[in-house]
């Protein structure tokens, strides 16, 4: 171990500083945590540089030997995500400089979530991952019901119980794995799993663990917790932004990580590819039905995560790295959209897209930020979404793939045509009311917006810089692609005018329809049985 970057600092610093500085007055506490976040951002970038151009960093906590120690690993998958997480938290701390919704307990829980997330990304030990997910889960449950208004306590309770059931599945799976192999270290598992006498014995723990991870990454039909948590009315914009931007990616990251661990014995890529596609379609269909702007964004996260999972499991390198790039892109534009949505809701005092008009005129910086986010997410030319979607599309073969990608793009564009209505028109609230000008809010929104644009203009180089593989993104700007985008936009606008606005009653019925806890648990069990059956059937 030649390097000297202590990885455990990355995990322990946020929660440690948060605990030690808790006695400070609120304003000072915020400042201390902001400085800590900037420091940790620097540390994570140093880690990333070391990993990207040096070797991966492995650290054994407390100096125990390999396979016994709890291990922290920074490699080419985890280091970019750690940088993304720290950028996000630093950004949200700057964003909320003048906010009045952050008291000290809130800030402490927020940095605890940061620690848990960085820990999940860096951990190389499956039990450690379990513990850190549970830690993050508790922090999130309190954060989303923080103001305790409307139905937020119910949302948080449902979130907590569903995730706890999934974690019980994971614990049983880890126990099973430990019984078979005798190790919990991910690398040790990779080494030992192919040596088993009976590889079929791994099927049951695989299904148990992957069911939990699928719920964490909100795959169909296990996503019903996500809109409640991410679109919770009582959660401030920064919480929604972090949840949608980074936290759900932890699930996707674990899907990649653990699939790689099990890949010598079990191959379920086809299962997850189909599931990703279904998730994506169902996600945007539900997004179209929503009225609440935060819920539109939350269901949209489901759709985009489906797209990412589909890309990761296509079995092509271009699509894989495209999907990895889409993780970063989605974090940027969805984080941006949630941040600006929080400001818009606060300013207009409403959450319904029908009551908000003229954001662009009333709050230019927020409006431009939102517009950049929308252009990014719909895959408009020159914006980052177009690059990663282009890469994912390259991995798709045949007519079906083209149609699938077009369908997802159309759905995305359609739901954001609806969302973008809030930008235009005459401001729906009195303009003479003194506006709260907040340079920090505007600044962070614009920086994220510019990042969306930069990620598109420099798409190929960015992928090469962050992950290594060299792919040309020139095709994303070809005349054909731009024509397709314009055509998609035209079809989406036409569909919105002619169809979506006419079926309000039907959409209201979808909106009202909710599954209760028992039904959600049944879905979880069915998912487990389906995954078990599939792996049994495939691994002959």
């Amino acid at each position: 171990m030649a390097t000297s970057i202590p990885l455990h600092f990355l995990v322990l610093l946020p929660v440690g500083v948060g605990a030690v500085g808790y006695f400070l007055p609120r304003r000072w506490y915020h400042l201390v945590l902001l400085v800590m976040n900037l420091a940790i951002l620097g540390l994570s970038i140093a880690t990333f540089i070391e990993v990207r151009w040096g070797a991966q960093i492995i650290q054994h906590v407390a100096g125990w030997p390999d396979w016994i120690a709890i291990k922290l690993v920074a490699d080419k998958y985890s280091a970019p995500l750690v940088v993304l997480t720290t950028i996000f938290f630093a950004g949200t701390f700057v964003f909320s400089t003048r906010a009045d919704y952050t008291d000290k307990t809130f800030l402490f829980l927020f940095v605890m979530l940061e620690s848990a997330l960085i820990g999940v990304f860096l951990s190389g030990d499956i039990f450690n991952i379990y513990v850190l997910i549970e830690l993050g889960m508790i922090a999130i449950a309190i954060l989303i019901m923080y103001k305790q208004d409307k139905q937020s306590v119910y949302d948080a309770m449902l979130y907590l119980m569903m995730n706890f059931i999934a974690m019980a599945f994971m614990l049983l799976g880890i126990g099973y794995l430990y019984r078979i192999t005798g190790v919990l270290d991910l690398e040790a598992l990779v080494a030992r799993l192919p040596l088993l006498d009976n590889p079929r014995a791994v099927i049951v723990p695989y299904a148990l663990i992957m069911t939990a991870i699928a719920l964490k990454s909100a795959l169909f039909p296990l996503f019903s917790w996500l809109p409640r948590a991410h679109g919770a009315p009582s959660a401030p914009g920064i919480v929604s932004a972090v949840l949608s931007g980074v936290q759900v990616k932890a699930g996707v990251y674990l899907l990649v990580r653990l699939s790689a661990v099990f890949s010598p014995v079990i191959d379920a890529t086809a299962f997850f590819m189909v599931l990703g596609f279904v998730t994506s379609v169902v996600g945007f269909l539900l997004a179209i039905a929503q009225k609440d702007i935060k819920l539109i964004l939350a269901y949209h996260t489901v759709s985009q995560v489906g797209l990412i999972v589909m890309g990761l499991n296509l079995g092509s390198d271009v699509a894989f790295w495209g999907a990895m790039y889409h993780i970063i892109n989605h974090a940027l534009f969805k984080g941006l959209l949630f941040l600006t949505a929080g400001v818009i809701i606060e300013e207009y005092g409403s959450r319904s897209y029908a009551e908000i008009r003229g954001v662009l005129r009333k709050m230019p910086a927020i409006g431009i930020g939102t517009l950049a986010g929308i252009l990014g997410i719909t895959g408009a030319p020159f914006f980052n979404g177009s690059i990663s979607k282009y890469f994912i599309q390259q991995g798709l073969q045949g007519d079906f793939g083209g149609i699938a990608m077009f369908l997802i793009n159309l759905g995305t564009t359609l739901s954001f045509v609806k969302y973008s209505l809030i930008l235009f028109g005459k401001p729906s609230i009195a303009t003479d009311r003194p506006l709260r000008r907040d340079p920090w809010v505007a600044g962070v929104s614009l920086v994220f917006g510019i990042a969306c644009l930069a990620g598109g203009l420099l798409g190929g180089p960015t992928v090469a810089l962050v992950y290594g593989p060299q792919y040309s993104a020139g095709g994303a700007l070809s005349v054909e692609k731009i024509t397709t985008f314009v055509a998609t936009l035209a079809i989406a606008v036409a569909l919105y005018m002619l169809v979506v606005r006419r079926i309000g009653g039907f959409l209201a019925a979808i909106r009202q329809f909710k599954f209760n806890f028992n039904q959600v648990t049944v879905f979880l069990t069915l998912f487990f049985v389906a995954l078990l059956g599939y792996t049994w059937w495939v691994g002959g």
């Binding site: 907590l160 019980a168 599945f169 126990g175 099973y176 028992n518 069990t525």
Partner: protein, 117 residues
């Protein structure tokens, strides 16, 4: 009956886990579902504790010779899992109290209908 004779305690813990899952799927009472989830967690923890257990193994405390010690790893890990389980259950119950005061029901189905108003 040969099947029954071969059963071990570890199989029983798996039965407990799925019993808890059954409860979470079927019970409409919120308290009962919280208890069911707790039972699932206990089932998983007991299963983990029994991993690699051999008959006659002694607790891993210093005077015991290492040859007859039980595997210490599950015991060390499951303390963490038990603590997490207790705190999550406690949080669920606290949240349930809020919900019960607010909506006046302990039934998931009635609760979901009252939410919209």
């Amino acid at each position: 009956m040969a099947f029954v004779a071969q059963l071990q305690i570890a199989d029983l813990t798996i039965a407990i886990f799925f019993l808890g899952l059954y409860g979470a799927m079927t019970q409409r009472n919120i308290i009962k579902t919280i208890i069911s989830v707790g039972i699932m967690d206990i089932g998983a923890i007991s299963f983990f504790m029994l991993a690699n257990h051999e008959p006659g193994a002694k607790p891993p405390v210093i005077p015991t010779p290492p040859e007859i010690m039980a595997d210490p790893v599950p015991q060390a890990l499951m303390i963490t899992a038990i603590v997490i389980g207790v705190s999550v259950i406690a949080m669920c119950l606290a949240m349930y109290m809020r919900v019960a005061y607010r909506y006046g029901t302990a039934d998931w189905n009635i609760l979901i209908r009252r939410l919209e108003k």
